[in-house]
């Protein structure tokens, strides 16, 4: 067990909470298909229903509005396809599972702080009378920037548009209030909040149009066919309950950022002026490419990333940062640090120390060399 590792990549995936694992192991051992009428089936059904209530409670939705999926990507895909609106307006900083869900979408620009421009949204919506779907994420996976969803909903609904919100990175970290936000569709992922990978949910507001894209056995009230991942759903339910308290790590984040900026005053925290998740810091270390940072930190026993995990194998510049107007060269130096439910203050101190070492060794000397040249 790599106990020596400091894991600060919770926005990629968060370790499974022990209580969620317990619930899963129990469900796995009992088994049963929730659609079966017999006792074993009914027990499985009861587990799914109970988890549905817990997930609904996390975001203040009705349990009948929760449709379990195989994860956030499926939830996002099926929301965009299922709303039945061909005209879609999405923000430029959305996850690829939204951006690539369809072709011919209108991409809404964001401001320098990463927040979607409501004026542009309003004008774009007014440009056509065709009913639209607006998709704006709750919190960005790379920068942690929170979007003004209630305002987006107000503008969109006034124009007769439906609203989808990808809350995969927000739920369980900060309060997400489905009713209060007024969105029509909301996506969740279990493994981002300490539940298992392979489970998520799409919350469909009661009364919102929804045509499923996956057909078959009629599970999930005909909204998503396929035998339910009972154990995964049970784990999601427990994780959702534990995550309701959210993450109280804003002070740690501020401490981290202050410390890093003190080490390298020319470093830049992306989205710093916006409201952000309390667990995410996206920072460019001057003069050092992100891959170098990630590798050096990995050798020092610290797991962080250079952007979204899905694409982190290929080294590409972050589309999110470019959309915020960050210069390509600076975007290439951006490191994502994200805390989670089992992060402790020592982890942050270790990161600061390793970052300092790296910067003194590589970054600083590079800048010195650059200046000398």
């Amino acid at each position: 067990m790599p106990a020596a590792h400091t894991y600060l990549d919770h926005n990629a995936t968060s370790p499974l909470r022990p209580a969620a694992l317990d619930a899963m192991v129990e469900a796995l051992q009992v088994g049963g298909n929730p659609s079966s009428v017999h006792r074993v089936g009914r027990t499985a059904r009861a587990r799914v229903d109970s988890a549905r209530q817990h997930v609904a409670a996390l975001i203040g939705a009705r349990s009948s509005e929760v449709v379990f999926t195989s994860g956030g990507t499926e939830a996002n895909n099926s929301a965009l396809a299922g709303a039945g609106r061909r005209r879609m307006l999405v923000s430029a900083v959305e996850h690829d599972s939204v951006l690539k869900a369809s072709t011919g979408m209108d991409i809404m620009p964001v401001q320098g702080n990463g927040i979607v421009d409501l004026g542009v949204l309003e004008n774009s919506l007014a440009a056509s009378t065709e009913p639209a779907l607006v998709s704006v994420m709750f919190a960005n996976n790379e920068t942690g920037v929170l979007q003004p969803i209630a305002d987006v909903v107000r503008v969109a609904h006034a124009a007769g548009a439906l609203v989808h919100c990808d809350a995969v990175q927000g739920a369980g970290k900060v309060p997400v209030d489905f009713r209060g936000l007024g969105v029509d569709y909301l996506s969740l992922s279990a493994h981002k909040l300490g539940g298992p990978a392979g489970v998520g949910a799409l919350v469909v507001r009661s009364g919102a149009p929804f045509a499923p894209d996956r057909l078959g056995g009629g599970q999930e009230a005909n909204r998503r066919a396929g035998t339910e991942n009972v154990a995964g759903i049970a784990g999601f339910g427990v994780a959702a309950t534990e995550a309701r308290a959210g993450l109280a790590t804003a002070e740690w984040r501020d401490h981290l950022e202050a410390a890093l900026l003190k080490i390298a005053p020319a470093a830049r925290v992306h989205g710093a002026s916006a409201d952000r998740l309390p667990n995410t810091t996206c920072i460019s270390m001057p003069g050092v490419r992100a891959e170098t940072q990630v590798m050096a930190l990995d050798l020092a026993g610290i797991c962080v990333s250079a952007g979204a995990a899905c694409s982190s194998g290929k080294v590409t510049r972050s589309a999110v940062l470019l959309a915020m107007g960050v210069e390509p060269a600076e975007a290439e130096m951006a490191l994502r640090i994200s805390f989670g439910w089992n992060t402790c203050f020592d982890d942050i101190e270790r990161l600061i120390a390793a970052w300092r070492d790296l910067y003194t060794r590589v970054g600083h000397s590079d800048i010195v060399r650059a200046r000398a040249a």
């Binding site: 899963m24 006792r39 990507t73």
Partner: protein
């Protein structure tokens, strides 16, 4: 066997519904545990050891699944289950090749997710031929040959039926498809791990596999997609580009590992298990036949997986029987549709009369079924069927030699 103690507690009914879902093998759970706990990384994270470790687990699982069906590991993509695999295979192929070929051939006894997907494609303008099956549940190869034309892009025929367990002649179907230049997709959710499958020998181009039908976890499945000659698909779930772009979404590492381990166990134990289950099944049928007249096995008994029986008990009301045999977990058909009281469309397709379809039970035996459980189940079934027949005027009439179909019921 120690495993049974973990699987079934004493107060639980005897589980005889292995086609709905299977209990997870404790060995599978054991293989999964590290990936739930300390090996929790995102296999997409390439920048640190947690990610690499997870990726290693996923790739080992991929090769375990590939071996089970004689495929190359690069041809296996993970999905959330067989429903998704079936949807992806059929819609994905249809969508990709629609400008060249727009005809699909399938059968009337497919799983609902195949039929619903085909119906959806019909609405999109595709032509679909739904082949009937013979009385034994098997497709007529001559009819199939006649149905496949140069417009046919895909033939989708399940390997093993979920209600009656019959095994379709896959190699023959594959041969016809190859001759006619159509892709062959088979829903092998009920077949994988139970009968030998070889994508090469059987000319299978796409194959759907489910985790929870082979003693693995729910929420995971696989789709085999042939690379040579290459089959192309339009993805259904897009985003991060995982699974070679065929299926985006963070891979659930523990579930993948569980599916892999389940596949490997099945492969190792398949032959011995088949012998054991056939013996148990024959024992059950013999036991029932010895005590109960007028029971009928639906579907071919020889070309059938060992762990399935589907029996109609004449002159017994299906619902009452289900209520009676509380200590047995069996079903009256497919689990997905079992909440509805409609008679099984599979049995109807075999030409089983509606009354007989109503009195049918699907009995699924599997890895943890014991001889003792079979004997208990036989006794329980005999007891309740006999009791219900004693109360049934129809049974009395049939025993007196009256042909019930000749009775004209007065309307009231």
């Amino acid at each position: 066997m120690n495993a049974i103690a973990q699987i079934r507690r004493n107060d639980q009914p005897i589980y005889l519904d292995y086609q709905a879902t299977t209990p997870m093998d404790p060995r599978v759970l054991e293989a999964m545990m590290p990936y739930f706990t300390y090996k929790f990384g995102n296999p997409g994270s390439r920048s640190h050891s947690y990610g690499w470790e997870a990726e290693e687990g996923v790739e080992k699982a991929r090769s375990q699944v590939a071996k089970l069906i004689g495929a190359d590991e690069k041809e296996v993509i993970f999905t959330s289950g067989a429903t998704e695999s079936n949807n992806l295979a059929i819609k994905g192929v249809a969508e990709f090749y629609k400008d060249r070929r727009n005809h699909i051939v399938t059968t009337v006894t497919e799983h609902k997710c195949v039929l619903d997907t085909c119906r959806h494609l019909e609405q999109q303008g595709f032509d679909v031929t739904y082949l009937p099956v013979q009385q034994n549940g098997l497709v007529d190869l001559e009819q199939l040959r006649a149905a496949v034309t140069d417009k046919t892009v895909l033939v989708s025929i399940m390997a093993v039926n979920n209600e009656i367990g019959v095994i379709q002649p896959l190699a023959e179907i594959g041969k016809i498809c190859r001759e006619k230049g159509a892709f062959f997709h088979t829903d092998a959710a009920q077949a994988a791990g139970k009968i030998a499958l070889d994508v090469e020998a059987m000319n299978i181009d796409l194959m759907s596999i489910s985790g929870h039908k082979i003693y693995g976890p729910k929420g995971i499945g696989a789709l085999y997609v042939r690379r040579k000659p290459r089959v192309r698909l339009v993805a259904m779930i897009v985003g991060g580009g995982q699974e070679r772009g065929f299926r985006s979404g963070t891979l659930p590492t523990p579930l993948c590992v569980g599916l892999g381990e389940a596949a490997e166990i099945c492969m190792k134990e398949m032959d011995g298990e088949a012998v054991r289950l056939t013996k148990l099944r024959d024992r059950m049928l013999k036991g029932l036949n010895a005590k109960l007249p007028e029971i009928y096995v639906n579907g071919d008994l020889d070309r059938r997986i060992p762990g399935n029986l589907n029996i109609s008990f004449a002159h017994v009301e299906g619902e009452s029987l289900m209520m009676g045999i509380k200590n047995l977990s069996v079903s009256s058909g497919s689990a997905c549709t079992s909440a509805s009281l409609e008679p099984s469309y599979v049995l109807r397709a075999l030409g089983v009369e509606e009354e007989m379809a109503h009195t049918s039970l699907r009995i699924g035996l599997g890895r943890f079924t014991t001889e003792h459980e079979v004997d208990t189940a036989v006794a329980e079934l005999v007891h309740h069927v006999t009791k219900l027949r004693q109360m049934s005027p129809l049974w009395e009439m049939s025993q007196e030699g009256i042909d019930i179909k000749s009775i004209e019921w007065a309307a009231h």
